[in-house]
């Protein structure tokens, strides 16, 4: 397993776009999360610690990380490097597992870095500008850790979903755009249409991947199984992609 991990790590860090996208991600998370803090007044702060630390769970931010996820296979198929990779790793499950582990580790690292940026930024702005009372959250609250855990899992799930789409389609652009379109346009549209058609079919929207993911991250009361629905979608598409990755010609 170690050789495959070394190979994938070297692949990830040896292209400049990895570093550019990582910097872009941190900058975007910082801007999106800290602008409300800097604009807040100390008397009536609007941004809460909860809101601040859930910023990496924003679909737009997750989309930036999904570019790295899509590149995991997208670049290899686009430039034929997959044939070199698979000639070094004839047992395809090994390299797939290595890619999944490195991607997950990367997402975890980037999310922690994003929180560090947000935390340091908020302290620079003045912690009194973040609303600690409104929701009961503080920077060290145990409730915060639940929120952060959910944001972390959402980021990993979103990226594995994007990677799986790229594996299936062998198309980098589709791997980035399809999850984004689903999350921001298609699923809200489907949800709206279902609501218009009939109240009896409206609950179907609760089984859509990104609608359930967002409900899970914000702990929606009427949607207790939201996390499981999202996980089922991610696992399902990942196993489908794995099956075809092993069966298809390189």
């Amino acid at each position: 397993m170690m050789p495959a991990l070394r190979y994938e790590w070297r692949r990830l860090i040896s292209i400049r776009s990895t570093w550019i996208i990582s910097a872009l991600y941190l900058a975007l998370v910082g801007v999106v999360g800290l602008i409300p803090v800097f604009l807040n007044s100390t008397e009536t702060p609007v941004q809460s610690w909860e809101g601040l630390f859930s910023t990496p769970g924003n679909v737009l931010n997750a989309m930036i990380l999904s570019v790295i996820a899509a590149q995991t296979f997208g670049h290899e198929y686009r430039y034929g490097v997959i044939r070199l990779t698979l000639s070094e790793f004839p047992v395809r499950e090994n390299i797939l597992l290595a890619k999944t582990l490195i991607l997950s580790t990367y997402v975890i690292a980037m999310t922690f870095l994003a929180w560090a940026v947000l935390g340091v930024g908020a302290l620079i702005a003045g912690s009194e500008k973040v609303n600690s009372d409104a929701s009961g959250y503080t920077i060290s609250s145990s409730d915060n850790s639940t929120q952060m855990w959910q944001v972390l899992v959402f980021g990993i799930g979103y990226c594995i979903f994007a990677m799986s789409i790229t594996m299936l389609s062998r198309n980098l652009a589709l791997g980035v755009t399809l999850p984004l379109l689903l999350a921001t346009i298609l699923e809200p549209l489907i949800g709206g249409l279902l609501g218009m058609i009939s109240e009896s079919v409206e609950p179907v929207r609760k089984y859509l991947p990104f609608s359930s993911a967002q409900a899970w991250v914000v702990n929606a009361d009427d949607w207790p199984q939201a996390g499981l629905v999202f996980a089922a979608w991610v696992v399902g598409i990942y196993f489908l992609a794995t099956f075809f990755f092993i069966k298809r010609d390189a």
Binding site: P3, A4, R6, Y7, W9, R10, R11, S14, I15, R16, S17, H75, Y79, G80, V81, R83, L84, L86, S87, E88, F89, P90, V91, K247, R248, D249, A250
Partner: protein, 317 residues
């Protein structure tokens, strides 16, 4: 390391790309892998490496590749001159390929120098010429000094000096006891390089033997003759049932003849000869003869007096 290809077979929908192919590639020798365009050479190589799914098996010293703990020391493959990320530096590309076997930076620099890419090692290969891409591909294949080297058309795009270098390198690599399998369209080059040949057409095995045995299959043996009285000699030879072709000023080629017989006829006719030798069997001629019926693509060419004509390899105009 001996490579055994056993009953390898591959279909692409209705196309039977590789048809129950079996052959052996021996260590210490360079084996040329020949066949017309679309004959299935690249597909066979991909099947051997497990990149394509098909039936049959390829054994490396009796074991399939998947059974080896580390594959890079077993087989190094160069399948295409453009298999690299255009924005990852040449050195970065090789470091990635070498990560599996923990190849040292010193070895990477050594290989870069060996293939002549030192000046561009830190440059992005997106702007590389075909020849430079071939060098980078070869560097990746030899990085871990594998016991088996598989190269698909490695001489495409190389200049004559580089082809000469490649030939010497591969011969040397095989002389160390390694196994080298090279596919190429450059038949003249293959005749100089390969010890053995594997020839396929339409995915079917045509020949798998030593180069010498393959060349001895030549159907027609010709004799080159030069004389100041070449017109009379040609006439006498024709009367003796030989087919004669003009080969420039004062020279003819006598088809299906031996130097002894041509010399005898010339002596009996009183024609003085200034040059007489048997033309060596040519890989291209034998290849064309054997694969003529296995061509996937016919070639159209304009001929004087006709709008166009279709020729098949091995046929004369």
């Amino acid at each position: 390391m001996r490579v055994e290809v056993n009953n390898v077979d591959k279909h692409f929908r209705k196309l039977h790309a590789v048809n129950d192919l079996s052959f052996t590639v021996e260590p210490g020798r360079v084996t040329g892998f020949l066949g017309p365009n679309g004959s299935g050479k690249s597909t066979t190589m991909r099947l051997m490496l497990g990149l394509d799914n098909g039936t049959g098996e390829t054994l490396f010293d009796g074991l399939p590749l998947a059974k080896y703990k580390s594959v890079t020391g077993v087989v190094g493959a160069h399948l295409d001159a453009k298999f690299f990320h255009p924005k990852r530096s040449a050195r970065g590309h090789l470091r990635m390929l070498g990560a599996e076997a923990n190849i040292s930076k010193a070895r990477i620099d050594e290989v870069i120098q060996l293939v002549g890419l030192s000046d561009v090692a830190r440059k992005r290969p997106g702007g590389f010429s075909l020849g430079m891409g071939q060098r980078l591909g070869l560097a990746g294949a030899i990085l871990a000094q594998p016991k088996v080297l598989m190269l698909d058309e490695p001489a495409n795009g190389l200049d004559p000096q580089s082809i000469h270098w490649l030939r010497d390198f591969l011969k040397h690599y095989a002389s160390l006891g390694n196994t080298v399998l090279v596919s190429s369209h450059l038949l003249g080059e293959m005749q100089l390089l390969a010890d053995d040949v594997v020839v396929i057409a339409r995915g079917t095995l045509v020949a798998a033997e030593s180069m010498q045995a393959f060349l001895s299959r030549a159907n027609s043996k010709s004799v080159f003759v030069r004389s100041n009285d070449v017109v009379r000699l040609a006439s006498v030879l024709s009367m003796n049932g030989f087919r004669v072709e003009i080969e420039g000023e004062n020279a003819i080629k006598v088809i299906d003849a031996t130097p002894e017989r041509v010399g005898e006829i010339a002596f009996q006719s009183g024609v003085q000869l200034s040059e007489l030798f048997a033309e060596a069997a040519n890989l291209e001629t034998v290849f064309m003869d054997l694969t003529a019926s296995g061509m996937d693509y016919e070639i159209g060419t304009p001929i004087a007096g006709h709008d166009s004509a279709v020729i098949r390899s091995g046929e004369s105009l």
